[in-house]
C-alpha cells in the first residue's frame, strides 16, 4: 500500500514541476495566479496522500491552512489591481 502512496505523491509533484512551464510562460498575471491555484490544490492532494502514508492526522491541518487561505490571493489580486485601473483612468 505504501508504494502506491509514494507513486501518487511523486506523480503529483511531477505535475507541479510540469505546471511551472505555465508560470514561466504565462502571458498575463492572471495565468500565473491560475497556475498557483492549481499548485495549491495539488499540494493539498499530496498532503492528503501523505496523511495516509505517514499515518499522522495533524497533516490534515496543514491542508486546511492551504485550503482556507487559497481564496485570499485571488481576492488580493482582484481588489488590489482593480484600484490601479481606477487610478490611471
Amino acid at each position: 500500500m505504501d508504494i502506491i502512496f509514494i507513486i501518487v505523491s511523486v506523480f503529483l509533484l511531477l505535475n507541479i514541476a510540469l505546471g511551472l512551464i505555465r508560470v514561466w510562460r504565462g502571458p498575463t498575471i492572471a495565468d500565473r495566479l491560475l497556475t498557483t491555484q492549481l499548485f495549491g490544490t495539488t499540494g493539498m492532494a499530496i498532503l492528503l496522500v501523505l496523511t495516509g502514508y505517514l499515518e499522522q492526522l495533524t497533516l490534515l491541518n496543514v491542508a486546511i491552512t492551504f485550503n482556507v487561505l487559497a481564496i485570499l490571493l485571488v481576492i488580493g489580486l482582484v481588489q488590489v489591481w482593480k484600484k490601479k485601473k481606477g487610478e490611471s483612468s
Binding site: D2, L33, L50, V62, T65, F66, L69, L72, G76, S88
Partner: protein
C-alpha cells in the same frame, strides 16, 4: 522508496529558490516564490516539523502572497508614459545619492561579515549528544502543555518568543516610518460585487474558527499562537480588501491597544512571579496551562493586528507615492 519523494522535493525546493531570485521578470519571480513556499511546506512535512509547515503554508500562501501582489502592482508599468516618468525620477534620485550610499553599504557589508563569523562560530560550537531535547522532554509535565514545541516556545524559552513578538511590532514601526505616518486615510469603497462580498462573509468566520482551533490545539499538537495569528491576520486583510479597514473603524487607542496587548501582557507576566522568588518568565506549574493559553491568545491577537496594519499601510502608502510622482512631473 520514500527517498524518491525527498529527492524530488529537494530538487524542486532548490530549483525554485534559485529561479525565484534569478527570473528575468518580476511577476515570474513572485509566482515562482509562491510555488517555492508550497514546496518548502511539503519539505517541512517530510522532515516531521508540522508546526513549521503550518506556519510556512499560512505565511507564504496568505500574508506574503497579498503583500507581493500589492508590491507587484506598484512596480508594474501602468502605461509607457508613466513608466518613463518613474524611471527618470529613479535615475535622478540614484545619481544624487551615489556618494551618500557608500557608507551604509560599507557598514552593511561589515555587519554581514561579522554576523557570518558569529554564525560560523556558533555552528562550530554546537554541543554534541542531541542538545537539550532530553531535558525538555523530562520537564514537559511541569510546563502545563503536552506538545513539546509549544512548551519550549511559550514556557522554556518564553524570553525568545517575547522578543519575536517585539520583532514583528518593530517591523510594523518600520513600515510606519517609511510611510511617513500618513496612515489610514481614504477608505476603499465597499465592494458592490455580491459574490465577492458573500465569499468574504463566508470565509471570515471560517478563518476565525480554524485559527481558534489551531490556537487551542497547540496545547496537544502542532499549532499555536503564530499559526493562529496569521489566520486571524488574514481576516483583517480580507476585510480590508472588502472595503472595511478595521483600523479605520475602531478608535485609535483601541488599535494601539490591540497592537501592543500581547507584548505587554507577556512582559508583565514574565516579571510578575519574580516577586515570589522565581526567575524571569517562570510560571508556577499549577497555573501554567491556563496562563500559557491566555498569553497565546493575546499574542495571537497582537500579531494578527500587526500583520493587518502592515498590509493596510503598505497598500495605502504606495498610492500616495505614485500620486506624488504624477504631480511632480
Amino acid at each position: 522508496m520514500s527517498v524518491l519523494i525527498d529527492i524530488l522535493l529537494a530538487i524542486l525546493v532548490i530549483y525554485l529558490a534559485l529561479q525565484s531570485l534569478l527570473a528575468p521578470r518580476l511577476s515570474q519571480s513572485v509566482f515562482l516564490f509562491f510555488a517555492f513556499g508550497l514546496a518548502l511546506a511539503l519539505a517541512w512535512v517530510r522532515l516531521g516539523a508540522v508546526d513549521v509547515a503550518i506556519t510556512e503554508a499560512a505565511i507564504a500562501s496568505g500574508f506574503l502572497g497579498v503583500l507581493f501582489l500589492d508590491a507587484l502592482r506598484d512596480f508594474s508599468p501602468r502605461s509607457s508614459e508613466e513608466q518613463k516618468n518613474i524611471s527618470t525620477v529613479q535615475n535622478s534620485r540614484s545619481r544624487n545619492s551615489v556618494k551618500s550610499l557608500l557608507l551604509p553599504r560599507l557598514s552593511l557589508v561589515l555587519g554581514l561579515g561579522l554576523f557570518l563569523l558569529i554564525a560560523l562560530e556558533a555552528v562550530w560550537n554546537i554541543p554534541d549528544g542531541g542538545g537539550l531535547a532530553a531535558d525538555a522532554e523530562k520537564l514537559l509535565p511541569q510546563s502545563g502543555v503536552e506538545h513539546p514545541v509549544t512548551a519550549v516556545l511559550i514556557n522554556f524559552r518564553a524570553y525568545d518568543t517575547w522578543l519575536e513578538i517585539g520583532v514583528i511590532l518593530l517591523g510594523l514601526l518600520a513600515v510606519f516610518a517609511v510611510g511617513k505616518i500618513q496612515i489610514y486615510r481614504k477608505p476603499i469603497p465597499v465592494v458592490d460585487d455580491i459574490l465577492l462580498r458573500q465569499v468574504i462573509l463566508f470565509f471570515t468566520p471560517v478563518l476565525f474558527l480554524f485559527g481558534a482551533f489551531l490556537l487551542y490545539f497547540g496545547k496537544t499538537g502542532p499549532g499555536g499562537a503564530f499559526q493562529a495569528a496569521v489566520l486571524w491576520g488574514a481576516i483583517g486583510i480580507l476585510l480590508h480588501l472588502g472595503g472595511r479597514p478595521i483600523f479605520l473603524l475602531i478608535p485609535r487607542w483601541l488599535g494601539q491597544l490591540l497592537l501592543t496587548l500581547g507584548l505587554l501582557f507577556f512582559l508583565i507576566l514574565g516579571f510578575l512571579f519574580i516577586a515570589g522568588g522565581a526567575t524571569l518568565f517562570e510560571y508556577p506549574p499549577a497555573y501554567a496551562g491556563v496562563l500559557i493559553l491566555i498569553v497565546e491568545t493575546l499574542a495571537a491577537i497582537s500579531i494578527a493586528a500587526a500583520l493587518t496594519a502592515m498590509f493596510a499601510n503598505l497598500n495605502q502608502m504606495k498610492k500616495e507615492e505614485s500620486n506624488k510622482i504624477d504631480s511632480t512631473n
